[in-house]
Amino acid sequence: MALALDFLALLLAQFQKPTLAFLAGGMVLAALGSRLEIPDPIYQFIVLVLLLKIGMGAGMALREAQITDIALPALAAAALGVVIVLLGQVTIGLMPGLRASDSIATAGLFGAVSVSTLAAGMVILEEDGLGYESWVPALYPFMDIPALLCAIVLAQMARARAGGPTGARPRLLRLVIDSLRGGALSALMLGLLLGLLTRPDPVFDTFYEPLFRGLLSLLMLVMGMEAYARLSELRGVAHLYAVYGVLGPLVHGALGFGLGWGLHLLTGFSPGGVVLLAVMAASSSDVSGPPTLRIAVPEANPAVYIGTSTSLGTPIALLSIPLWMTLAEMLLTP
């Protein structure tokens, strides 16, 4: 009982933090019909700076890390990405009356990773002084790409079963390359390489690091407004997607937390690292995944998978960050 109260108190304190507060603020604005707009070039600038910062920070940490430290977590990340997609196909995909392509695409987004959710996790961890290996954000592509690829392969198989056109079947390697060429992953990889191969410390310390938190607050505003705006698109969509959008992040985060806990016991993976793994698993791609799926699974209805991810998956994943932190503080720290 005391434990439950502690848990609640820790949880409530988190909602006072600026990151989640701005998310809620964005939703409220949209709900009240505000005409406030964040200009698109500003939004792109914010995402670019966050991705370069995440990449550079992880890259600089990788310089000092041992390949053996990272191998297992990377494997865990990839496994999580694939397992979440397969799990999604089994749970939603097998329900009657739903189109296979829709459920596969939705599961694909939930297996992939949201950069905004990851950034929010990093900032909230830092505010609470819960440390993590600085290279953990570098696990992003290890979870993101396998998840999207897995969804695309499942969609191809479904199409083949349905006797659909198989001639245009895209090659996997090409999809990986194309995905890495997208703006978001390009920026992340560029940051990683700069951090790994050069010494960006002066510009990192004076620009990317200090601006990170503030720009994230504006991104949360956009996320909140967008989440509310897309809610209406969910109206025509099967209720099951709403259930998946709400429960998915919690289940996936728990999976990530569990796997991270295993790593913690096995290799001493830090509590903060466990939280970030859970956050990535809980998150669903809202910036970089959707266009990949639009091209590769054109028969799926974007209103379904984007609506489910943006309006439910991302807010729930963001709001669940305090949950993993509270769990970590209670279970993993001495």
């Binding site: 707009e37 698109d40 809202d286 639009r294 028969e299």
Partner: protein, 106 residues
């Protein structure tokens, strides 16, 4: 001194831009213009200037002026059949009178 020509307008989401450009290049066109925008359609609202999470879903309009009507129609056919088949997008054609005809190879 104006001479008759045709203007093909193509409205798509940014993610199809590379494919449309490839098709226009293959068709031997030497020029086109592109205008960013937004819109509303069966796939919901695309904002014209405000942040939207996915950059690739922004609307862009191609305007292609060419003299050869048959080629214009052929491009429109290929577009709607190949690229736009499962994607959102519109194509229309208008009559125009152009100057500087020397600038138009097709």
């Amino acid at each position: 001194m104006p001479s008759p020509a045709h203007k093909l307008t193509i409205i798509i989401e940014r993610l199809l831009k590379p494919q449309v450009e490839a098709l226009l290049s293959e068709a031997g066109l030497d020029g086109w213009s592109i205008f960013p925008g937004g819109g509303r359609g069966t796939h919901g609202v695309h904002r014209a200037q405000a942040a939207q999470l996915v950059r690739e879903f922004a609307i862009v309009k191609f305007e292609v002026v060419l003299r050869d009507r048959a080629k214009a129609e052929a491009i429109a056919e290929r577009l709607t059949q190949e690229i736009l088949a499962q994607q959102s997008g519109l194509v229309w054609l208008e009559e125009v009178a152009i100057w500087r005809t020397g600038k138009f190879r097709s």
